[in-house]
Every structure is written in structure tokens, then in C-alpha cells.
Symmetry: C2
Subunit: 185 residues, 2 copies
Amino acid sequence: MSAPSDVLSPGRFSLQVPDGDDRERLVCDTCGFINYQNPKIVVGAVCTWQDHYLLVRRAIEPRIGYWTMPAGYMELGETTEAGAAREVWEEGCARVTIGAMIGLFSLPRIGQVHMIYRAEMDSPDHAPGTESLETRLVRWEEIPWEDLAFPTVTWALQAHRKFLGRNDFGPVGVPPEALSGGVFR
Amino acid sequence: MSAPSDVLSPGRFSLQVPDGDDRERLVCDTCGFINYQNPKIVVGAVCTWQDHYLLVRRAIEPRIGYWTMPAGYMELGETTEAGAAREVWEEGCARVTIGAMIGLFSLPRIGQVHMIYRAEMDSPDHAPGTESLETRLVRWEEIPWEDLAFPTVTWALQAHRKFLGRNDFGPVGVPPEALSGGVFR
Ligand SMILES: [Zn+2]
Ligand SMILES: [Zn+2]
């Protein structure tokens, strides 16, 4: 995942309700530009080669050094599937065929919606991209659960396993136990 | 749908590749603020009361006067399901229980991803909100196909019908015939 530094310089923007709107937006004090901030889409994929899972080790913060599936911000001009395939290429240098969406995680506290697909690798080739320290193909039993970067990685891997060989499903969401904990609500 | 006027004043921002980035972004010429533009999420719901569908007639551009399911931009701080329910309330003054996602439409040409759910109305009550001229509960045979606002409305209604009584599905996407036409690619 890339982490754009779209943090506003303090004092330059202020919260105002624009004409015809019904909630506060960040408006530039100088020029009146309205910075509509909407939730961002993160697209990614749990990629497999036969019974092996592709994991990439993060070279950037947050959670540098921890393992994840390839995922990152969706860009303008692409579909969600194309974005997921692009992230796999950028972070794991692997070519994949994107399949069904297995996880759809709304994370309102951080203003993100994660859309995670399952994908089959077109070959066993993989290598770290600029945002990764290392890439590996591991069997289910070898997944380093304690060293995964984010809960969404765990949920997506578990969803992939749950839906193995099936096509009769919609994506899983944030697990109820995580919601009741309050962190992801 | 609301249509935020987040159009940049000409000349104030210019396309530059920020340090550490790999593509052009709009950067404010005055203060260096980077306006990351990512795809926006539109959330909505095909709502039913028994065998009737809730349609709302748009009071705003684009496609003023045409019919749609309630849908609009997802806001920060909400889940996709909560956003869909909020839009139903704002545009159709109806309370609903959100169910499965029936349509997921990537529209890269306009930088949007539409996530449409099916929803059951908690009561037959409905009324136009400020962005609607009129609301109606209609049977399938009464849907004004020629007067629907957008192709996504047609696709979502058809998906709802296709999945009636089923839970063994993921959302439909943009139909292949629309993709090959080039308009939605
Ligand atoms: Zn400004
Ligand atoms: Zn500025």
C-alpha cells in the first residue's frame, strides 16, 4: 500500500458548510477551493499458485517489515479488478488473473473501503517491487499469522480458504467480533 | 445523487509528479497542497416493499426528472451499508434493512465505483427528499425503463430480479455488452 501524504497544512483550510451542502467540508481560506474528502478505495488480491499463497513483506510504513497480500489505493481510470492486478504487479511483480471478490471491508475510522479479490497467478514468478522487502509463496500452514501487517490480511486469507472451490458467495465483511470491539466501527 | 462542485479553479492547480510518487497529481501552485483524486464510491439500494420497487425521481442534474434507485456519494465515517441506507432516507424518506450487494459497477471514465445493495423497506412509507421530485412504489411490470436516469439503474434492477430468493451470489458487474461498446470502459 502506498501512503499519500495528503495531509493539509495547518491553518490553510478551515471547516465550513458550503452553499447547498449539508455538512462541513475543508475549504481553502485563500481561494475557496472545497476539498471534498470521500472514503478511499483500497484494492488488493489474495494470489495463489497451486496451493501456495503469495505474501509480500512491506518496505514502507505503516507496519514496515510485516507481511501482507498486495493491496493499495485504487487510482482514477481503472476498474477495481484492474487496480488489484496493478497492485499485485507493483508490490509482488506477479501477473495474475483476478477472480471473485472475497472480502469487502468498510473501515470508517480510517475512511477506507477495502475490496479484496482472489486471484490465480499466471506463473510462479514473483519478486519484490519498490514497496516490498521480500516476496514468498507459502503453503497455508506456513502463513506467518503473527507477522501479518493488518487484520484485513488475516480476514482476507481466511475468506480465501473458506471459499476454496466455491463460486456461490458474496464477499465477507469485517467480522462481528472486530465490530463489537469498537476498533473497526 | 449529490454532485459536489469540486472543480478546480483554472490555473490554481497544476499537474506535477510529487517526490516519491509515480504519477501526476494536481498540486496547488500557491501552497503545494497535493489534491490526490481517487475514485469516488457511490452507494445505493434497490428497495422493495413486498413485490413493489421504490423509485425516486431526480430533482437535480444530471438527468433531472428521470427515475432512479436512491444512491449517492459515500461519506467519511460510515460503512458502505450505512451509506446506502442514508441515501435511501435522504432521497426517498424510507427506512430500510440493507441486504446483499447485488451490483458493483466500476465506471473508470467518470472515476466512480457504484456499490448497489438490495434492501427491504421496514414499512411502505416513502416520500421525496430534497433531491427528489417524487417517489413511487411500483411493480416490476410498471418500471419506467425508458425513463430511468442511468444504465446503472437498469443493471441494478435486473440484478435484483435475477437474485430474487437467492443468497448464493456475488454482485454483478458492468454487462459485457456495455464494456464492448466502449462507453463504460
Ligand atoms: Zn487554495
Ligand atoms: Zn493552496
